[in-house]
Amino acid sequence: MPDIFVSSPTANTTASSGSGQDVARANPPNKFHLHRQFFSAYHFMPEGMRFETQAPGESIILLLRRHWITNFFWVAITVIFLILPLILFPVVAISGIIPKQFPGSILTLLVFVWYLLTFSYVLVNFVLWYFTVAIVTNERLVEIDFINILYKKFAETRIARIEDVTNRTGGFIRSLLDYGDVIVQTAAKEVMFEFHSVPHPEQVVRIMNELMEKEGERRES
């Protein structure tokens, strides 16, 4: 894990306009990282990404989603949904359960409807996972939470207002795959950000603490 506020030896030594640029210089993205980052749950200095209220000069330092293992349940159900008709529908066709007065196209319709609903199920789950993100920029913390397709929760706070960052892990799977919850307490009363099941929670806490220190130094100077 590179130190996010230490410039690389080749970095431009002219004055920077923000800590995000320091971070970008310290961590140049490689080609492999760029190709696989779009479906990743942990992006450090993501390239080619923006969010709705991003200000000019504001750079994304961390973009987090729920760990990929949290998708296991719906992926497993999808696999079952994909395989089941291959077994079930031939049995239904052979057994003659369907009344004679129904047209032969009823089985085709069942296949169409089944796979259409499976497609919907996959798309909804994927879209909700993909767009539910926590973003840490050089200036603030943003949480975009799509609870369902129609309901969005958007919360943000300045880095200067963050008081405490903790991580919470536990259990066999979480320890094995290194993911957990990150809880951010702000200065405002009862305002708390919770990033659920994000990968590498300790690194997230460390980066946010460094950002808080940097912000504190900047305010003092």
């Binding site: 319709l109 497609f119 798309l123 767009f131």
Partner: protein, 78 residues
């Protein structure tokens, strides 16, 4: 003829028509859901912009077209 007698006669004589009506209602609901999903995906891609956002939007359009196809197929062939 009471309402119960009418419903019983209707169910006994035209079960296929009932199934067809229910399927069409279901598919109409799904069609509207697909449209909403497409619109919401478009909105989401504006909230978090990534290079694959157009791809996700395209997939949601394919989903809508699939729903429309199944609906039309049911109306014509079922």
């Amino acid at each position: 003829m009471t309402i119960e007698q009418f419903i019983t006669t209707f169910l006994q004589t035209t079960p296929f028509a009932i199934i067809k009506i229910l399927v069409i209602i279901l598919l109409l609901l799904h069609l509207s859901f697909s449209f909403v999903l497409m619109r919401q995906t478009k909105l989401m891609t504006h909230v978090v912009e990534a290079q694959i956002s157009p791809l996700l939007y395209s997939i949601s359009i394919i989903h809508l077209l699939s729903s429309l196809f199944v609906f039309l197929w049911t109306m014509i062939f079922f």
